[in-house]
Symmetry: C2
């Protein structure tokens, strides 16, 4: 009889796990949405439970602490960015075509953000930059990964004769600075900011000289 | 007898007003300090009262609401920035000398910030950019004033033959973007960021061509 029951029990357990993982992903995504507008500080287990119509104890079982919820929001936003900006660019050839695709998708991502508060990194890094701990560490790791992607592709583009005469890190620093400023200015009501940033960045990546 | 009493009463009243104004300024400055690290959202009348060893009801009498406290923090941080960055530059001749002085004092302000969390604008604008209301309005007005100062001095420097070939607004946008990014990266532990920003900005303001 145990032979018959075990697969059934296993199946129920798998389904529960799957359901738990789906619930966790749904809550983490909503946490990222809320944090993009109100900041990671504004997150609370009770608030999210209320928004999603689930019990606070259920959310607490899945995440435990507010910090774990903040970390899950960071991870969820990171996956959104990879999905919408990084992954689509990987189908382009390395170097200038891929760098151009990364910048294009990045601009699209700021122009029509997936999260209601716009760029998650732009909102949460300034919020946690002076607060050491696991959330700041997660944001720093995500930021370092993104800089590494940019710098690698800038280096390859330079080997192809584009954007020469700039240190790859300094160029990535400028891209990130201009995009963060464009996101911020757009959120503050300046409708010309993305265009301003685009013109400057196109000047920096300039065609072969 | 009323002739004798009135000046004395007036004096007491003046002293109370002065004491109230001083207390208000002290609390507002501390609010700016706390907000620079933990965000304006993290401010509370009770927290500030506890930090400063005064009664919560006293703080409540002076500020009324959390929003008024947030607005007072924005104003206090604005005064700090004017005092340390804008005012010292006004002693320099208009145009390139004054623009250089503004940039120098701005870099000093980020390298050795008056507030424990670094640049207040860099922390609070991203926090409130998606939250319409009086706090966002105050931050937007402060930001617009600062852009106006920069653009005016860039325009004058260009008349003197410096930093030509750039739209003054686009150049101010780049300065603000690079400074915000340098502040952020510095707070995240990157000790090279201010140097990177300085090199790029010096390239942009370039000497007479």
């Amino acid at each position: 009889m145990s032979d018959v029951q075990q697969p059934a029990e296993q199946e129920i357990s798998d389904q529960r796990l799957l359901k738990g993982a789906r619930a966790r992903a749904t809550i983490a995504r909503h946490a990222a949405e809320v944090a993009s507008v109100e900041g990671l500080t504004g997150l609370s287990l009770g608030r999210l439970a209320g928004d999603l119509g689930v019990s606070k104890s259920g959310v607490a079982t899945l995440f435990g602490t507010k910090e774990n919820l903040q970390l899950a929001a960071v991870q969820s936003a990171r996956e959104l960015f990879i999905e919408h900006v990084v992954r689509p660019a990987l189908s382009q050839p390395r170097g200038m075509p891929r760098l151009t695709a990364l910048l294009d998708h990045w601009f699209d991502y700021l122009a029509e953000p997936c999260l209601p508060g716009g760029c998650f990194r732009g909102a949460s890094v300034p919020e946690f930059d002076s607060r050491p701990g696991p959330v700041r560490d997660a944001l720093a790791a995500d930021r370092a990964d993104w800089f590494a992607v940019l710098e690698k592709e800038i280096g390859r583009a330079q080997e192809q004769g584009y954007a020469t005469g700039h240190d790859p890190h300094a160029l990535a620093f400028q891209f990130e600075a201009l995009m963060a400023a464009a996101n911020l200015a757009t959120r503050m009501g300046d409708e010309t900011a993305l265009g301003t940033a685009r013109t400057i960045i196109d000047g920096l990546t300039g065609a072969k000289s």
